[in-house]
Each structure stands twice: as C-alpha cells, then as structure tokens.
C-alpha cells in the first residue's frame, strides 16, 4: 500500500495537527429497561397490550453473563478485534465467546445494578429515589469499579423505603427503575406541568448522562491524561435536555464533565442525528488544530428508547433480545505529539445542501470527492468505517447487513469511476471493509466504533489511513428532508512535531551563517586576485 508523503498533499505545512490520544467504549447491560423504556415495547403496551409479543418477550431476555459472552460485545470494548469476529460464522447470538471479561482494552460492560446507582450519582436535582435495600446490596459493587472514585460515590445517598418508591410510581407519575423484574427505584418528574421535564424525559436524559460519564472516565483513563487537562467536552448523542421555554438548551457535555470530575473543562452539545459523532470529531479536531483548546474530548451516552427496537423480529425468529445494552463512547483529541494518529482536516467529506439524495451523490460527496481533492484513490485508504451496526441484530429484522451495504456502495461507485474492476468488488470489500459489531444505538455505531482499533494498528504500523464516515437521517426531526453526512480521515503520525514557527534565534543564526559564508566567498575571491 503506497503511503503518500505528507508534503505532497498538505496545503499548508504549518497547520497544527490534532491526534487521537485515547478512546473509551462502554456498554451497559440493561435488560429491565428493554421492557420498560424501549419504544417498541412502550408502544406495544399502548396499541396491543395483551398481544403475544409482550408475553413472549421476557423469555428472550439475556442474563448479564450471556451479554458478556456475546462476541460483538467483546469486540466493542476491545477484547476481540473486528478481524477475529469476521472469522466467527454468523449468526453470533448462539455462540459463546471464549473471552467474557467485563473489562476490556477500551472500557467495560457495566451491569444494570451498578448503572442504576451511577444514575443516582448523576442526579443533582433529587429526582431519583432508590430502595435502600437495593443501594445497600450493590453500593460496594460500584465502589469497586476502577473508574469510579470517592467523589462519585459520595453523590450516592442511602435510599428510601420500598414503600416510598412504590408510592412515587403509583401516585406521583414517576418512572420506575426495575432490576430483575423488581421495582428498585423511581425517577420523578422535575416539574408538575412541563412535559419537557416529565419523569420519562428525565429518565432518558439521566441515562444518557450516566453512560456518557462512564465513557468519559474510560477514555480519559485510557489516554493516560490527568482529568484536569481536559479543557472542552463535546457531547454528540441524540437526546435533548431543556424545559418548555428552551426545549433543547442542552449541555449534556458540561453535565457529564462535572460528574466525571473534569474540573478544567467546559463544553457544549453537537447534534446531527447519527452523523453527530463525526461532526463532533471534526469540530474537536478543528478546535485543537486551531489552537483554541489543547485537549478536547468527544463523548456520547446511550439511548433507552432504542433498546429492543427490533425485538419483534428477534422474538418471532426465536432469538434472544440482542438490543439489551446501552452504548457509549468517548475520544480524547489533543495536540500533535508526534506519535498518535492524526485527524487530517485537509481530507473532509461533506454531504451538502446541494448534494441531493441519490445514493451515488451521497457516496460521492462523502467518499470519492474528498479523495479526489486530496489526489488519492479509493484503494489508498486502508479501511473505511461507515455505519458499523451488528448484522446479527439487523439481518433478522429485514434491514440487511448495514456495513456490507455501505461497502458495496463504495465498491460500486469505485467500479463506475474505473478505480477498481467489477470482478474485484468483493475482494475490495474484504480488504477495505470490516464486519459490523456495534449495538444499534443510533449515533453509537456511526463510523466511530473503530477508532480504538485504528489507533492500536496505526501505532503498530499495520495501517496508515482510515476514512470514518458518519451519516444522518435528518427527516426524523421533520425539519428537513435532506440527508446528511460528513467524513474524516485518520492517518498514522509521520513523526514530525509542529514547531510554532522558526524562532527568532534560529533566524539570527541562519543570517549570521549566510553572511559569514558570503564574507568567506569575498575573501577567497580577493585572495585569488
């Protein structure tokens, strides 16, 4: 694989680069939230409460141990690689992975009990009331979590009587928190009238916040930086927080940074549906490259609404519920250190207002146009990382293999352009693609799950160039029918650290040397005469 020299494609060699210093990838196994908070299930309870699906569903819920032994989950947290997963015959849900550690290279798979306590730690408005027996039984488990320190544990209170929890759910419109089928807590509404502060919304938002906190802690730990070094956090999940007067006011980023102990950071939220993470990483890289901030972390928590989204198809086909985990991720981006992989802001793809919605136009704008602008061929990119949804989840639901569909489109466009031969399409896909592994948590699988592996492989010198592609379905918000997406390139570091510019001393010494050489030349000419 030919690797282009930096100078051949950089517009401006003095640009400060940004690098990926570390990543965090977490899952939270939340089986009870599937039933109580996943919208497929909550909708079914309204339109068809006595139907077969809701009766069958509880029999298809996996245990924590089963979730740990599930191949794609072990890949997500970095204990197995996408290449190892590709060698396992599909489907994967009926196989036991030979690795089932809850802790992985990039993060962990947290059990529901610990997460409910973490949610309470993230609640700073006294909205969450937990059964004190539940707290007593599981507090030690959260305290033992290597990422959770005393400042977080100090936010957990002792809890209340079970009867009070039951009363809140029955009489105060509170959302129940359940564990193994038992009511263990309540999330209160934050306002008596404002629907934007309903118990339902508060639960969803606190879940997003708590899983983002865990992701931040994992990434900062993995990056080997002090918490105080983080200057800015960008949240890119798909939730909104606010009240009736500012419904999406936001700042999940600052809220999570507070709990994670990032005392030197402020932040803001970046929204773009599933393309959010890619937009956020470009933003973070640009902030660092411009010198605005030295260390920026992009983060996103998970989504209860999407739990069990394809449950009906899974149950119908006798499968377990595979969408039983929340997903979260975080990426630490810092100034070029001459070592870590760089985010090359000269090679960016954008789906613009004028691009149009034809698949060909979309893939051109995101993949081939930025490559053309950089003078690169499709085959110059080692790996492409588009939507990396786990096919175990999507195939039985009639949505096909999403990463494969993306790779087929990239390959097909390459054939149309003459970059590859039609006969080599499948070979191209095998060499430049990856098997999907990420949970269907919206923004979570979109492009970014690969960054931990990309960093590892670039540091080892195995690969040099990876294109990350994020795509978003904006029509869901009913504001525009336009599609959206951005792409960015991650490249192995060329080892050169930026100089701020040539120093004044260096200039003086260069001039002195030039004058000395000139004087010597004059002398030599004099002597010749």
């Amino acid at each position: 694989m030919k690797y282009r020299e930096n100078s051949a494609r950089r517009k401006d060699d003095n640009t400060v680069k940004s690098v990926i210093k570390g990543t965090g990838y977490i899952l939270v196994h939340t089986p009870d939230m599937v039933l109580h908070n996943g919208t497929t299930q909550t909708t079914e309870r309204i339109v068809n409460p006595d139907g077969e699906y809701l009766k069958e569903l509880p029999k298809h819920i996996r245990t924590y141990e089963e979730a740990l032994s599930y191949w794609p989950n072990q890949v997500y947290i970095g204990n197995k690689t996408p290449q190892e997963l590709a060698a396992v015959e599909q489907p994967w849900y009926d196989k036991t992975c030979d690795m089932n550690d809850r802790f992985g290279r990039f993060g962990q798979i947290m059990p529901q009990e610990e997460f409910i306590l973490l949610m309470q730690a993230c609640d700073v408005f006294e909205l969450i009331y937990l059964d004190k027996d539940f707290v007593a039984a599981h507090k030690g488990e959260l305290a033992a979590n290597p990422l959770i320190d005393e400042t977080i544990m100090a936010r957990i209170n002792e809890g209340v009587d079970k009867a009070e929890v039951e009363r809140l759910v029955k009489e105060e419109h509170s959302e129940g928190l359940y564990n193994k089928g038992v009511l263990v807590g309540a999330v209160n509404r934050a306002h008596d009238i404002d629907t934007n502060l309903s118990a339902h919304v508060m639960l969803e938002n606190i879940v997003s916040k708590a899983s983002s906190v865990l992701s931040l802690l994992a990434a900062v730990h993995n990056a080997g930086i002090a918490k105080s070094e983080v200057e800015y956090v960008v949240d890119c999940c798909e939730e909104a927080c606010g009240d009736m007067n500012q419904r999406g006011g936001g700042n999940f980023a600052k809220a999570a940074a507070e709990i994670a102990g990032l005392t030197g950071a402020t932040g803001s939220d970046c929204r773009g549906f599933c393309a959010g993470p890619s937009h956020a990483i470009v933003e973070a890289a640009a902030l660092v490259a411009a010198g605005a901030y030295k260390t920026v972390v992009v983060t996103a928590g998970g989504c209860t609404a999407k739990l069990g989204m394809n449950g009906k198809d899974h149950v119908k086909k006798g499968m377990p519920i595979l969408e039983d985990c929340l997903g979260g991720f975080a990426v630490v981006i810092t100034q070029n250190d001459g070592v870590n992989p760089e985010i090359n802001l000269d090679i960016l793809g954008r789906h613009t207002v004028g691009t149009g919605s034809a698949p060909q136009a979309v893939i051109s704008s995101l993949v081939t146009d930025p490559l053309d602008r950089a003078g690169l061929k499709v085959t110059d990119v080692d790996k492409f990382s588009p939507e990396m949804q786990n096919p175990d989840i999507t195939k039985p639901a009639g949505a096909g293999d999403v990463p494969l569909a993306n790779y087929k489109m990239i390959a097909a466009l390459s054939v149309k352009r003459g970059d590859i031969q039609r006969a080599d399409m499948m070979k191209f896909i095998a060499e430049h693609g990856m098997t999907g592994w990420a949970p269907t948590q919206g923004h979570i699988p979109s492009g970014v799950p690969c960054l931990g592996f990309v960093r590892d492989n670039m540091l080892k010198g195995n690969i040099h160039r990876v294109m990350v592609i994020g795509k978003g379905s904006l029509f869901l918000g009913r504001m525009t029918n336009l599609f959206d997406g951005v792409s960015f390139m991650v490249e192995a570091n060329d080892g050169k650290k930026e100089e701020a510019g040539v120093s004044e001393d260096a200039v003086k010494s260069l001039i002195a040397k030039a004058m000395k050489d000139f004087a010597n030349t004059l002398l030599a000419q004099e002597e010749k005469k």
């Binding site: 339109v47 034809a358 698949p359 060909q360 893939i363 009639g398 949505a399 096909g400 569909a405 087929k408 489109m409 097909a412 466009l413 054939v415 149309k416 039609r422 399409m425």
Partner: protein, 107 residues
C-alpha cells in the same frame, strides 16, 4: 411499510383513484420489498397500520425491476440508480415482487 407511509398511500388512492396510482419502491432487499408490495395490494400483513385489511390492489414496482427501468431516460437512471443496481440483489427483489403483483394487483 411504516404507518405514516401507509396512511399517505391510502390517501393518494382515495384522492386520485387507485387505478391512477403506481407505487415505486426503493427497498434494499427482497423481503422488505415484498412486505411493502403486499401492503399496498392485499393489505398490511403485520396488521399494524392503516392498510390492515385494506386491499388497494395498486400497481407496485421496485425501481430496479426491468419493467420500470425501461421507462426511464437511461442517463437519469444511471445517475440515480446505476450504483445501487450493482449493490442490490435485483433478481431476489424481482422474484419477491412479481408473484405479489400477479396475485394481488387489480389494475
């Protein structure tokens, strides 16, 4: 087929007359295409939407099917569908669509 689209198809059929409506699909594979085709001809087979038990019998095609492809300006078709034609399993889709049309189309 999602509930919103079922509602729209039903409204168009009522407004313009079912004999004047052709449904054109762009689904990514056979099973999804077949489900949508059945929904606008013989009624929603999942009994979830407004077309449950409603047999519109509409003409329905997938945009990759040869009968429809020949209706397009070849350049326009190539620009908009050409790439996806290489990606989709067109035979699989045709094999799903044709029997449904043969069985349930009224026009």
């Amino acid at each position: 087929m999602d509930l919103e689209n079922q509602k729209r198809v039903k409204e168009f059929a009522e407004k313009y007359g079912p004999e004047n409506v052709v449904v054109l699909l762009g689904a990514s594979e056979g099973e999804a295409s077949g489900l949508a085709a059945e929904t606008v001809t013989n009624g929603d087979p999942t009994y979830a939407g407004p077309l449950t038990g409603v047999q519109l019998g509409l003409k329905v095609y997938h945009v990759c099917e040869p009968e429809i492809k020949k209706e397009f300006d070849p350049e326009v078709y190539d620009k908009n569908v050409g790439m996806m034609e290489m990606v989709l399993d067109v035979d699989d889709i045709s094999n799903e669509m044709k029997p449904i049309r043969d069985q349930y189309c009224k026009f």
